[in-house]
């Protein structure tokens, strides 16, 4: 009996894989023992199964994330996986739609801008409570921003506010409480993107009472207004949330969310295959086809706002010639990269803006379809020096990077085919970034999520503006295009959304004519879920929307 109990307890990772099934597997591991034994084992297993399902009425969803959560305080995070958990606990000040970056009513129901664009008035949702019971009020909202912006605020020292230095402090003068549910924001300078900043992950609202109670220890006791409440976090083991039945958007159907951090892609694959997890992302691309055929799983391919590209150092000789830059774009076979290396976890890029941006993406943009002959011709016209070898820097891995070395090798071969020799140099990510910022390359690969703050222009300003070389920004390739500078500068003063979309389309046209980069691909994130999981949606920012999800027992 003792031996039979052991596998039961070994496999109690999850209720859905019930005892009967395990006993069947256990039994089939001894094929020689005869039918009687197998029958007996099965019956015992079924009994255990009944007991196990009795104990597991709760609806629990186990998620295997590619890394463990780092911190649970909204203004302090800098990694996507922390935000994936925080977005369940905390709601953002300004809510965006489930399928894009449109602003919709959330904690703030309505916002009005004064005609000079300097004063915003926010009407807050009535009756919302934080998980600790304290009410959502204008005072609580002001507290959340003040503790990041105001060095004299009593709770300023309870964290490291790196984002406030870039997004809040330069633009916002002050917040004022008008009445219990009305908050006023006064700006120092006009900024049409202010609401985008306030929809960012650092502007998720935390309970004022909890911050006052815990101070520096708040990240260990996170309290927000979100669909799930924090229960426990055993570092390295699991992080548990439970449903917030009083959620203003309606109580979630799941009772419990469990997050595991599994950094190896193949281990994440094994985790969903064995039922250790109900859901994961980013499994090895070679396993995707098998999972798509497997009736137990569902694979959703989520287009992202990420772009992978190769920066030209336009300060070095033939790369200052626009014909050369066009030629190198035409020489790279993006479709093969996307299909053969990434196995469909990417879509060929036509420019910096991903189709996942929806209306902002210019559908009529031609891009640079693979045309090696045209590339050779352009290089001849430009007088490509046959003895020139380009240094091509590639990171080993890094934030948002998909198989950078394999892609780099492919690009190298493509360029070789049109007569452009390159030396590929690979660096570990930390060293790579330092080299990149120093401009020590002819070609340098990067991957950027342009949708981090919703509007892509915010990220593009740092990458393409001629006034953004390091240390100020990331334009270490020295790209200069006065028309683009003009658009980027004027963008913050353009309050009509349709006209802003127009400007984004103009940027795409300009970067088509005069490419600063080789456009490679936009990442598509494979989300693998057990078939039992229902109605789980993933936002283009690659956050998970668990509030409406369900699991069948």
């Amino acid at each position: 009996m003792a031996r039979r109990e052991t596998p039961m307890s070994w496999s109690d990772h999850r209720p859905p894989l019930d005892g009967g099934e395990i006993m069947m597997r256990w039994a089939s591991a001894w094929p020689g023992k005869g039918r009687a034994v197998r029958c007996a084992l099965t019956i015992v297993g079924l009994l255990f199964g009944i007991l196990a399902s009795e104990a597991s009425a709760a609806k629990r969803l186990v998620v295997a994330l590619p890394a463990e959560v780092v911190i649970l305080d909204p203004p302090q995070y800098s990694d996507l996986n922390s935000e994936r958990v925080m977005s369940q606990i905390f709601d953002p000040f300004i809510q965006v739609a489930e399928d894009g970056f449109r602003k919709v009513p959330g904690l703030v129901e309505r916002s009005e801008v004064s005609s000079d664009g300097l004063t915003y008035t926010f009407r807050l949702r009535r009756g919302v409570k934080f998980h600790d019971g304290s009410p959502w009020t204008a005072e609580a909202a002001k507290f959340n921003f003040d503790r990041q912006m105001d060095k004299n605020h009593p709770y300023f020292g309870t964290g490291t506010w790196t984002r406030a230095a870039s997004y809040l402090v330069p633009f916002i003068d002050r917040f004022e409480v008008v009445d219990e549910l009305t908050l006023r924001m006064v700006l120092k300078v006009r900024n049409a993107l202010m609401l985008d900043y306030l929809s960012h992950g650092m502007a998720r609202m935390a309970s004022m009472e909890a911050i006052k109670k815990w101070g520096k220890d708040f990240p260990a006791h996170p309290v927000g207004t979100g669909p799930f409440r924090f229960v426990s976090w055993e570092k390295g083991v699991r992080l548990v949330l439970e449903k917030n039945p009083q959620y203003w958007g309606g109580a979630p159907k799941l009772d419990e969310l469990v997050f595991l951090g599994i950094s190896e892609a193949s281990a994440r694959f094994v985790a969903v295959k064995t039922g250790t997890a109900d859901m994961t992302i980013d499994v090895p691309v070679d396993e995707l086809a098998g999972l798509q055929r497997d009736p137990q799983f569902r694979v959703d391919m989520i287009p992202s706002t990420q772009v992978l590209f190769v920066v030209f150092n336009t300060k070095t000789k033939p790369l200052d010639d626009v014909r050369v830059r066009r030629a190198l774009n035409l020489a790279v076979d993006k479709d093969t990269i996307v299909n053969e290396i990434l196995k469909g976890t990417g879509v060929s890029a036509r420019g910096p803006i991903s189709p996942a941006f929806g209306d902002l993406f210019d559908r009529n943009l031609p891009g640079f379809p693979y045309a090696p002959d045209k590339a050779k011709q352009l290089l001849r016209e430009a007088g490509w020096p046959a003895d020139r070898t380009l240094t091509f820097n590639v990171p080993e891995s890094g934030s948002g990077m998909q198989a950078p070395q394999a892609i780099g090798t492919m690009i190298q071969a493509n360029l070789q085919a049109v007569g452009v020799r390159t030396t590929m140099r690979t660096f570990e990510w930390g060293a790579y970034l330092t080299k990149f910022r120093a401009g020590e390359y002819d070609l340098g690969m990067l991957s950027w999520n342009l949708g981090v703050v919703g509007d892509p222009i915010i990220m593009l300003s740092g990458l393409l503006h001629s006034g953004s070389p390091p240390p100020k920004g990331w334009n270490s390739g020295g790209y200069v295009k006065p028309e683009i500078d003009g658009i980027l500068d004027g963008y913050r003063n353009e309050f009509v959304p349709a006209r802003r979309s127009d400007l984004v389309r103009q940027v795409q046209r300009l970067t088509q004519d005069d490419p600063p980069w080789i456009y490679v691909d936009h990442q598509i994130l494979p989300v693998v879920t057990s078939r039992k999981v229902k109605n789980l949606r993933v936002h283009p920012s690659l956050l998970f929307l668990f509030a409406g999800a369900d699991i069948e027992g």
Binding site: P15, R25, T162, R238, T276, G430, K435, M459
Partner: protein, 314 residues
């Protein structure tokens, strides 16, 4: 006793040396923790603010001095990436690594010594040949591959053991749960050590068997089992020394195994710390590992000295 006091007194010197080397290496490697952490969104204002907060704008020797001063008071500083005290984090993860390395060590010693002894007893037999062949093969397999193979075979195909992690995602955290999760990573980690220990035990016992006192024993008509046992007690000294060295290997190898099996130990912490250039965290981890290594070797030496008093006279 004086010998061991001397050894013990050297411990702080060794640790400061290790800390200094780690500190220098981490600062010589190109890369900036702030850049890695903030990445694409970094603006100069936020980079400067963070650098000031972690005193990265000060000269390196000043940073080391400040770190050492705090370290002597038992404060290993704050992790740049995790924003938590390093000491808490390291001790928490060290427990997991110690369990894994301990499990692997027991396997390496138990299996290694057992197999080596049996092989010596049945020397030149089929059993001996097969064991030694198996031992060589298993020690030549890359850990990463063995780990994933075991995972696929035992967990996915047979569904016998959990594939990863230290505890189940749900349910209780009792010792049985832990033991079940420990089996695969411990076996993966232990395999090469089993090989080393088994081969050494066999060689060492065989060497002893050709000694004069064994011939005397044989002449007296002592049974073969007792003769091998007799030889073993003398043969174990070099084996113990190697086990001490293997502890270092196990702690190092744990980094790889932990990554494969998502074991929440120091390995993952160090790797992530190095990638993020999280100086305080890496120093804290290495310090704890170095201390363990030194202490284990000290314990082995003491054990050897107790088994063979001649050793501690030197």
């Amino acid at each position: 006793v004086a010998y061991f006091t001397r050894r013990l007194a050297m411990l702080p010197v060794v640790l400061v040396g290790v800390a200094l080397v780690v500190f220098m290496v981490m600062h010589l490697v190109p890369g900036d923790p702030v850049l890695v952490m903030l990445g694409p969104e970094a603006t100069q204002e936020s980079i400067d603010a963070l650098r000031r907060e972690f005193r990265l704008d000060e000269p390196v020797w000043l940073q080391f001095g400040a770190w050492l001063g705090r370290g002597l008071r038992g404060d290993l500083g704050y992790s740049i990436r995790l924003k938590r005290p390093v000491l808490d984090e390291v001790l928490q993860k060290f427990r997991a690594t110690a369990i894994l390395a301990g499990g692997a060590l027991s396997l390496a010693v138990g299996l290694g010594v057992g197999l080596g002894l049996l092989a010596a007893f049945f020397r030149q037999s089929i059993f001996d040949r097969f064991t030694m062949l198996g031992v060589i093969v298993s020690s030549s397999l890359p850990m990463f591959w063995v780990g994933i193979l075991l995972m696929v075979l035992v967990s996915m195909r047979l569904g016998l053991l959990p594939a990863m992690g230290m505890y189940s995602a749900a349910g209780s955290r009792d010792w049985r749960d832990l033991a079940a999760h420990l089996v695969l990573p411990a076996v993966t980690l232990a395999l090469p050590s089993v090989a080393v220990v088994a081969r050494l035990t066999r060689a060492s016992v065989l060497e002893m068997l050709s000694e004069d006192y064994i011939r005397t024993a044989r002449a007296k008509g002592v049974t073969e089992v007792r003769i091998v046992w007799h030889a073993f007690r003398n043969a174990i000294i070099p084996v113990l020394t190697v086990i001490g060295v293997q502890t270092g290997y196990l702690l190092g190898g744990a980094i790889l195994t932990e990554t494969v099996f998502a074991w929440p130990g120091l390995g993952t912490l160090i790797v992530r710390g190095v990638l993020a250039r999280d100086f305080p965290l890496v120093q804290g981890c290495v310090l704890v590992v170095a201390m363990t290594f030194v202490l284990v070797n000290l314990a082995v030496d003491m054990l050897n000295g107790w088994l063979d008093p001649r050793l501690s006279q030197g």
